[in-house]
């Protein structure tokens, strides 16, 4: 179980209809690769976030499958089209079954 997992997302507050915006996400997570050893030489078991998705009004923007080679505190930057006002839903899936979510509203003017 990873402690203090905190998602951070940057989305513009407003956009014009059909505009392409850049989204940046960061989540604090140790992303234990399963390759490291502790002080006694025992392998530390793998514990990573294995999937990240971003949806806008229930339509998929990006779906990322993550492997152990993703760095600690996984960071993603990508672009999304905004057809109308609504909410972005961000979801991270942990190896241990935990699911972390974050949502951001955006207004089309």
């Amino acid at each position: 179980m990873a402690d203090n997992v905190k998602p951070k997302v940057r989305v513009p507050k407003t956009a014009s209809a059909g505009e392409v915006i850049t989204i940046k996400t960061l989540i604090s997570h140790p992303m234990e690769s399963g390759q490291r050893k502790d002080g006694d030489g025992n392998l530390i078991p793998r514990s990573i976030i294995n999937r990240f998705t971003c949806d806008f009004n229930d339509q998929n923007v990006i779906d990322v499958t993550m492997e152990p080679a993703i760095s600690t505190n996984p960071y993603f930057e990508f672009q999304a089209t905004v057809p109308e006002s609504g909410a972005f839903a961000f979801t991270w899936y942990d190896d241990d079954g935990s699911v972390y979510t974050e949502s951001k509203d955006i207004e089309v003017s």
């Binding site: 850049t22 690769s33 949806d55 990006i62 990322v64 990508f78 999304a80 089209t81 905004v82």
Partner: protein, 138 residues
């Protein structure tokens, strides 16, 4: 200097194992690519992989992939113990088929990106990244 039969056998075994190791790591990459493409031919062009030439810290190496018209892009760190890094699947609302993230690189190696285009074809690109301090612990 004389070797007993047992020692000779052990040495032969060790040499075989050592010879097989790199081959096995490569096969792993090939397997992953084959699983992604389904054995289809892989072309070139239309896919950009941006990675630093020299990464001082292998723990966080910023990379960016960009392939206009792609459905999904797979990124592999070919020299890592587990080569898989990430697979980006672009949905209907993705603004452009590009994404950036940070990956771990265990040592100096080639980073490989394979993109699946909307018409079902595949393209790949790879870039060497020199790593000063490896990023996989152990």
């Amino acid at each position: 200097m004389k070797f007993t039969r047992r020692e000779t056998m052990l040495m032969a075994l060790g040499a075989t194992a050592a010879a097989m190791l790199p081959a096995r790591a490569m096969a792993n990459v090939d397997d992953l690519v084959a699983a992604f493409t389904g054995g289809a031919d892989i072309g070139e062009g239309g896919l950009t992989l941006t990675a630093p030439e020299i990464a001082e810290n292998g723990n966080t190496v910023p990379i960016e992939v960009d392939a206009p018209g792609a459905v999904s892009i797979m990124v592999l760190a070919t020299g890592n113990p587990t080569p898989g890094a990430a697979t980006f699947n672009f949905g209907p609302l993705s603004g452009s088929q590009s994404a950036s993230t940070r990956i771990r690189l265990a040592k100096t190696q080639n980073v490989l990106a394979v993109a699946k285009m909307a018409d079902g074809s595949f393209v790949q690109v790879s870039q060497e990244v020199k790593v000063t301090i490896g990023g996989c612990g152990g």
